[in-house]
């Protein structure tokens, strides 16, 4: 299966394009090039106005220079991008990429651990760098993702309360060590919803329980969550004061220490306005740094989110309204509403195989009123800011990781193709399992009748 920058997997188009221009690329069995210059494109840095006929210089994995009058270094391999557009790669901030190969086959899924409180688990431990999802996803212009344990998938219900730590990584590399941007980016909390109605997969029907019972279960979960945090505080104190002989290391509490110290944000997944309010209230009282995930009814609590400075990683715009009496287009107009209210947000797929729809989600929101430049930020820059990674990715500025896409046009538009893809400064193949199968079977001879 194709890996980053393996010569064999360089796309057919890319090879023919390069040959046509008689570029002296060392395409085969050479060490990866260190310096590139993308020339002649319209460059959207997301750190300022777009640059016509701009040049981007990439050196040693980082962006070295961006501008209209940049000299092309002598040692650079030149990518003639006339007529093309250059953007930062897209960032999908909630996925199960690498943790989930085939959703229905549990042997290939590492997102759901037993037990309700697992703060010590870290996603990057089990991210499979050889997953077919990585090349498929990056072919759509997504260059980095956050892998989030415990949410999404077929049976997201009952997946625990604290499900582990989310990890950010680039979508190219031979090992996780090469790919990783940051191992622990956020602690994931599935906010316990007051669910009176739930779907039971064993009987394929909805089960109802009395509200009082649902509320009781909710209170129990939240109390447990409080207990864990309280114990983590004591643990931190004890550790600080130090009684080494008696001190027993506790992995779960140890993992929660940066959370209670406000150093590691909590990514709280909630949809219902009531759940969001409860979660905000809880995190405020507990002094936690909260990021809201999914947030189907964020629009109802946008003032609260704004006031408390809580950013939102939105679930797909392609969903039905949470309630039947909500306007039919609420999931599509919500991003525009949050933007107008000044609530920072990013789009996410909440998926694995659907990650490549990320630009489509943002484009749909533009159709329903979100300004186009804000939509670009919400798939390229905002996630990095929300997750504290904007010093590394999100804009085309010198010093940042050279995660760059060169497109045939508007990256949010469905028909746009990614012509070149750079991850950590390396020209990376857009070839993938799907294109391979297509090329293989379109060559199948017509069978005899």
């Amino acid at each position: 299966m194709s890996r980053a920058i393996s010569a064999k997997s360089l796309s057919f188009q890319l090879i023919s394009f390069c040959l046509a221009l008689s570029l002296a690329f060392p395409l085969w069995s050479q060490p990866a090039a260190n310096v590139y210059a993308i020339k002649g494109a319209k460059v959207y840095t997301l750190a300022g106005p777009a640059i016509e006929n701009g040049t981007v210089v990439l050196r040693d994995g980082k962006i070295a220079a961006v501008g209209a009058n940049i000299a092309v270094p002598e040692d650079a391999q030149v990518i003639d991008a006339a007529g093309l557009e250059v953007y930062p790669g897209m960032f999908d901030p909630i996925t199960q990429i690498g943790l989930n190969e085939v959703g229905a086959v549990s042997a290939t899924v590492d997102t759901r651990e037993l037990g309700a409180f697992n703060p010590e688990l870290v996603a990057s431990t089990a991210v499979n760098p050889a997953t077919a999802h990585i090349p498929v996803t990056r072919a759509s212009g997504i260059t980095e993702v956050l892998a989030v344990p415990g949410i999404g998938g077929f049976d997201s219900e009952g997946g625990g309360v604290i499900t582990g730590q989310a990890s950010a990584f680039n979508l190219a590399g031979w090992t996780m060590d090469e790919m990783q941007i940051k191992r622990s980016v956020a602690m994931v909390v599935n906010w316990p919803s007051i669910q009176a109605r739930s779907f039971d997969f064993s009987t394929f029907s909805f089960k109802e329980k009395p509200y009082t019972e649902a509320k009781k279960e909710y209170d129990k979960s939240v109390n447990e969550l409080s207990d864990w945090l309280e114990r983590a505080r004591h643990y931190a104190q004890a550790k600080e004061k130090g009684s080494p002989d008696l001190f027993v290391r506790d992995l779960k509490l140890e993992a929660l220490v940066p959370v209670v110290e406000g150093k590691l944000p909590v990514l709280v997944v909630a949809d219902d306005a009531r759940d969001i309010r409860n979660a905000v209230d809880f995190c405020t009282k507990q002094n936690l740094k909260m990021i809201l995930g999914s947030g189907a009814e964020s629009w109802k609590v946008k003032d609260l989110l704004k006031e408390k400075k809580i950013p939102v990683i939105l679930g797909p715009t392609e969903r039905l309204p949470e309630r039947e009496d909500a306007p039919y287009d609420k999931p599509m107009t919500q991003p525009a509403e949050l933007n107008a209210a000044g609530v920072p947000f990013a789009f996410s797929s909440f998926g694995t195989s659907f990650s490549r729809r990320l630009p489509q989600y943002a484009g749909t929101a533009v159709g329903y009123g979100l300004p186009h430049d804000e939509a670009l930020k919400a798939v390229m820059l905002n996630a990095a800011q929300i997750l504290g990674l904007a010093d590394q990715v999100g804009t085309l500025e010198p010093g940042k990781l050279a995660n760059i896409i060169v497109t045939t046009g508007d990256p949010l538009e469905i028909q746009t193709q990614v012509r070149y893809l750079f991850i950590k400064g390396q020209l990376t193949s857009t070839d993938n399992r799907h294109r391979d199968l297509y090329e293989e079977y379109r060559k199948r001879p017509v069978p005899p009748r």
């Binding site: 085939v102 064993s202 394929f204 009395p210 039919y328 694995t352 195989s353 159709g367 469905i414």
Partner: protein
């Protein structure tokens, strides 16, 4: 995702678009309507800039650039917006009251979706707002032979009896692979696993049912023959509601829409159909159709697929977004379907992906959600393109519908505006006020009741009122349960 009603008391607020639609039913029906100044995507004869469409009695009466406004006609100025044929969804589970699957038996041909249509399912309105005007409403895929299917028009606000697409041939769902063999579900405790559990068993389940049906048909043919010959003392065969629809399949009077994923199982069903002398009308999902596109084309079956779903189960691991384009290139009539009330809201976008993946032309991409599903459902004489004489089922978009930025402004069925975005937006403040008033009233009533209880100072138990069941959204339940796995 869940959509529960907030309170029983605001239930009717949810039906507001219903009443908004209903009020103009008399003003538009039977009168001429002229849509003018539009970019018309006819599908069959190119695009017409600055064009007009004249609608009379619910049918397209004229299409062109120089149409005059007839006296008394309602004029819709499209202001340069795009008009395309209403989108046809060849695989849907909306508007179904209760479960989508009769999952107790492996042959459930006696179950009929037409008997359980729910005209109040909000998904009808949601999908209408995505430009969908007709949909193939299918039983789920739990069984090798599932239930009977029905084609509907999304006539939001009309009773269930007026949803079915008049004259459309009924269908039946077959299902192959992981769902009927139940690879991905465990039976509930105490329930025995069900035959079949392999693809081999799925084939035999279907073959056995068809043999039964053939025998049953022979009994009736014999009976009818003897009766026609004047034989008086005959006892008719016992009617069998399981086998009757299968006899219709054998006689070509009922379409088979078969859920399938892998190439091997598709070829299996083509062989079985050949053996019994009928044709499969459509292969549904057909995610590996691209591997055997020539065989599918030769069998005369259509392929109705997803745009880019893959990897959610083992049999979807070889799914590719080039499927629609590759099958089209090899001569299969292809449609792109939703299988999901939400996905149906942007089938125009999903069709556009076949241009990116496999290079279909814009017109061929649009065909995937208009003319081609119409052909697959045998209703292309009525819908699927903008041609004189066809039903005025139209979707008006503010941009090219193949753009991600296009938003449906109006949807017409039979020449009547069933969805109007502006009207929907305008109605929202009044609906919100109504809801808030109801909530306030409910709150006040509850407080008064509480105060009453206090003044009476009754510690003893009051008779507990039976808890009102919140109105569930059955079709949503169905979608979760649905064939869409």
């Amino acid at each position: 995702m869940k959509r529960a009603l907030l309170l029983a008391t605001v239930a009717f607020a949810a039906l507001a678009p219903f009443s908004v639609c209903a009020q103009d039913s008399n003003t538009q029906k039977d009168n001429a309507i002229l849509i003018k100044n539009a970019t018309i995507l006819t599908i069959t004869h190119g695009n017409i800039e600055h064009g007009s469409i004249l609608i009379r009695d619910g049918k397209i009466a004229a299409v062109g650039t120089d149409l005059k406004v007839p006296d008394g006609a309602t004029v819709i100025d499209a202001n340069g917006q795009y008009v395309m044929p209403g989108i046809i969804d060849c695989h849907s589970h909306i508007a179904i009251d209760g479960g989508v699957n009769e999952g107790s038996v492996s042959v459930s041909s006696m179950a009929n979706i037409a008997d359980v249509l729910d005209p109040e399912d909000m998904s009808i309105y949601d999908d209408l707002a995505g430009g969908v005007t007709a949909a193939n409403i299918l039983h789920g895929s739990a069984n090798a032979i599932g239930g009977q299917t029905v084609v509907i028009k999304l006539r939001w606000g009309k009773p269930a009896s007026q949803l079915p697409f008049e004259g459309a041939l009924p269908g039946i769902k077959f299902a192959l692979g992981e769902n009927p063999k139940r690879s991905n579900f465990s039976p509930p405790p105490g329930v025995e696993p069900r035959y079949p559990a392999t693809r081999l068993g799925v084939e035999e389940t279907i073959r056995e049912a068809l043999i039964e049906a053939r025998q049953y048909k022979k009994e009736w043919d014999d009976y009818n023959q003897k009766k026609a010959a004047g034989n008086q003392n005959l006892i008719p065969p016992r009617r069998d509601e399981k086998l009757e629809p299968l006899v219709e399949v054998l006689e070509g009077k009922r379409y088979v829409h078969s859920h399938c994923y892998r190439a091997d199982e598709i070829l299996m069903l083509i062989r079985v159909a050949n053996e019994f002398g009928f044709k499969i009308r459509t292969f549904q999902h057909v995610l590996e159709g691209y591997k055997i596109a020539d065989e599918i084309a030769a069998s005369g079956a259509g392929g109705s697929t997803f745009s880019d779903w893959w990897g959610y189960k083992m049999e979807a691991y070889d799914a590719i977004p080039y499927n629609a384009a590759l099958m089209t290139d090899r001569g299969v009539i292809v449609s792109i379907n939703s299988d999901d009330a939400e996905e149906a809201r942007h089938l125009n976008q999903e069709a556009a992906k076949s241009m990116k993946y496999g290079g279909l032309s814009a017109n061929d991409a649009l065909k995937l959600v208009t003319l081609n599903p119409a052909i697959q459902l045998g209703i292309d004489n009525r819908v699927g393109s903008i041609d004189v004489g066809k039903d005025a089922d139209l979707a008006i978009f503010n941009h090219d519908p193949l753009s991600v930025y296009a938003v449906v402004q109006k949807t017409l069925i039979d020449g009547r505006v069933y969805f109007d975005r502006q009207r929907d937006i305008d109605a929202r403040p009044a609906l919100e006020k109504e809801k808030q008033d109801l909530l306030a009233k409910e709150k006040k009533a509850a407080e008064e009741k509480k105060a009453e209880g206090k003044t009476e100072g009754k510690p003893e138990k009051k008779p507990v009122a039976k808890k009102k069941q919140p109105p569930t959204s059955p079709s949503n339940a169905g979608n979760v349960a649905g064939g869409g796995l």
